[in-house]
């Protein structure tokens, strides 16, 4: 190529021809373009937001020297959907359908946290059966969430079988949740005052079947991953963060427990009767990605125990508060074309009771009023402390709903976990945080 280096345009030299000026894009002149005046090997790599290993639309900006990460900066906001603002323009019951879309791998936790905050503001207590079913569906959800964390984390580290197996078992959880709530995700099943509907027929049997299969599958995971040298080497001593670091950075959930602190709000600040269940809080003392893997695996086992106990103590009863000024009137039932309004209920309000129709109309169009005040309700989601700070000004809509999402807070630990390590370990560290960007950005 006869093109000469043109200092005015290092990327594309040009020459005059009879057809006009011809540019030749060359590349390969990096030595000339990027003379390294400081003698450093510093390289800035942008990773994400569209990257298969960043666990969603997370953007990492990494300063590298060779393969060593000297600085990790995290940029979020690519999935910001303004859910908190939106809830201010919908009534209290509609809020459930918004918040369930935040941390989309743990939708029932969002619903439960939000509804418990609204119930605390209202000063109502939900029926025992509703509380038990909430525990039941939340623990199924915890298993599903941990399995996705394991599956996508495994995929990001190259363990594709962990991914396919994890999603296989997660599918079983989603089938259960679909059978119970009507939807695989974003259920809007937990409502202020109780639940949208009772467990359908056959659900208990399906869950018992699941409880039989799952322990074998957990054993399979241990056979496939726990003893496997590659899996161990990818996780051990990676993404180290001790208890002091966790508390300084506000990190909770499996990361904190893997550092050795048995802080689980189901035990420390019990809600929904968790204090009456028999279960352990698994911990590890390694404070690394390996410990987090072990803690999550153990928590799946504990969740199975909780599900079994919840099934055993299910007593017939209402699943929504008695107060018809709060209880959502739309009764749902499963029809030929899926979940929809109960025909019996429609017949009742349209043909039999004018008062029922009035109540239905007032609650659906206007909603109920919540006495002015503010509450903060924290619950233990699969990722840590999920806190709902809900403010009411006494109207039919929330004045403010702020969500303390555990992924949002935990993600701040990325730099502490990955600086000074290898670039490949950044992936393992972020995967061990298990952030869900829907919750981070809200």
């Amino acid at each position: 190529m006869s093109t000469t280096y043109n200092p005015a345009d290092p990327y594309a030299g040009s020459r005059e021809t009879t057809e006009g000026r011809v540019y030749t894009v060359t590349g390969g002149d990096w030595d000339l373009t990027f003379a390294d005046p400081h003698g450093e090997e510093r390289l800035v790599v942008n990773m994400g937001p569209q990257h298969p290993s960043t666990h969603g639309v997370l953007r990492l900006i990494l300063d590298l020297e060779g393969e060593t990460v000297t600085k990790a900066r995290v940029t979020i906001g690519y999935l910001h959907t303004g859910i908190e603002k939106n809830t201010e323009y919908r009534n209290w019951t509609q809020g459930t359908t918004f918040v369930t879309r935040m941390d989309y791998l743990a939708p029932l936790y969002n619903e439960a946290g939000y509804c418990m905050a609204v119930e605390k503001l209202l000063g109502v207590e939900i029926p025992q059966r509703a509380a038990t079913i909430r525990v039941l569906v939340m623990e199924i959800n915890r298993i599903a969430s941990h399995l996705v964390g394991l599956a996508t984390g495994g995929m990001e580290l190259g363990a594709l079988t962990a991914m396919t197996n994890g999603f296989r078992e997660r599918e079983m959880c989603l089938d259960l949740l679909e059978e119970i709530t009507g939807l695989r995700m974003n259920h809007a099943y937990i409502r202020p005052g109780g639940l949208a509907q009772d467990l359908p027929e056959g659900a208990v049997e399906s869950i018992r079947e699941f409880l039989k299969i799952m322990p074998k599958r957990i054993a399979d995971y241990h056979r496939m991953l726990t003893g496997q040298p590659i899996w161990q080497r990818r996780l051990k001593d990676v993404g180290y963060l001790d208890v002091t670091g966790c508390l300084a950075l506000g990190v909770t959930g499996p990361i904190l427990r893997a550092a050795g602190l048995p802080w689980d709000m189901r035990k420390t600040e019990p809600y929904l009767g968790y204090e009456t269940y028999d279960f352990e809080v698994p911990t590890a003392d390694t404070a690394d990605a390996w410990g987090r893997y072990l803690v999550r695996m153990a928590e799946i086992g504990e969740s199975l125990k909780l599900i079994e106990q919840a099934l055993d103590r299910l007593e017939p009863g209402p699943v929504m508060v008695e107060d018809r000024k709060i209880a959502w009137p739309a009764q749902l039932s499963l029809g030929a074309d899926g979940m929809g309004n109960s025909l019996d209920h429609v017949r009742h309000i349209m043909g039999q009771s004018m008062e029922a129709l009035i109540h239905h109309f007032k609650l659906v169009t206007e909603g109920f009023r919540v006495p002015a005040g503010q509450v903060y309700v924290p619950i233990e989601s699969p990722r840590g402390e999920l806190g709902y700070h809900v403010v009411s000004d006494g109207s039919t809509r929330p004045w403010r709903v702020h969500v303390r999402d555990p992924s949002f807070v935990n993600l701040q630990a990325t730099a502490a976990m990955s600086e000074g390590g290898m670039i490949a370990d950044v992936i393992a560290a972020v995967a061990s945080i298990d952030p869900v960007m829907g919750g981070v950005d809200r």
């Binding site: 909603g367 002015a372 402390e385 700070h389 009411s392 403010r400």
Partner: protein, 249 residues
Amino acid sequence: MSNDGGEVVPSREEAGYDAATAPSGGFRKGSFGVTGSGDTSGFGGLVRVEPGGAVALHSTDRPFGGYFDEVTDALIEAVGQATYDAAVQRVLVDRGEITYFVAREHLLVLVQALRDDDALRFELCSSVSGVDYLDSGGPAATPDRPRLHVVYHLTSMTYRRRIRLEVAVTAEDAHVPSVVGIYPTADWHERETWDMFGIVFDGHPALTRILMPDDWDGHPQRKDYPLGGVPVEYHDATIPPPDTRRSYR
């Protein structure tokens, strides 16, 4: 005084509202959230005084009950009665939660003591967020009742206690000292609160937008920031965007 329907609406005082004694300062006009919609139902003229709550202006008297008294006593011991009196404007116990309304000049002294004192040990800053109380029926945007509130939720894992601190500032002087030096976890929380409410946290290491794009104008979660959306025409009728739609309040 008249509203959109041309009806005569009583003033706050005529409706029995007294700022000095009202439990919340809660005051609401009309049944619907939007004015100018040609409401002919008559409900637009309703005036309601709301009961107290989060925005209540009164202070709860001692004893607070539960562990709240212990925390308050330990806090007084840690910072001294004089500082406590200057820092804590009032204390509100509501629904089993305690809120200390703190003057921003003294926030850092208080927070440092809350984290470090052996009898307090609030190791974890669970959450920092903002609330805009613009004509909420609560503290309106007057100098003595600032509209922007920063809310801190602190957790003591040692004693299993939770408290809430609240700092109120006006929109014109929306400055609060940053607690990042004490609680590093507040970094992103404060950035989000700046992003959404335009509250400046003095001393924050890098107070930049976090959820909205860097070049965004305004602070979306302020109450006077429009929700957005366009009117939709459907079957010859126009449906206004959600925040300007007539709706129940």
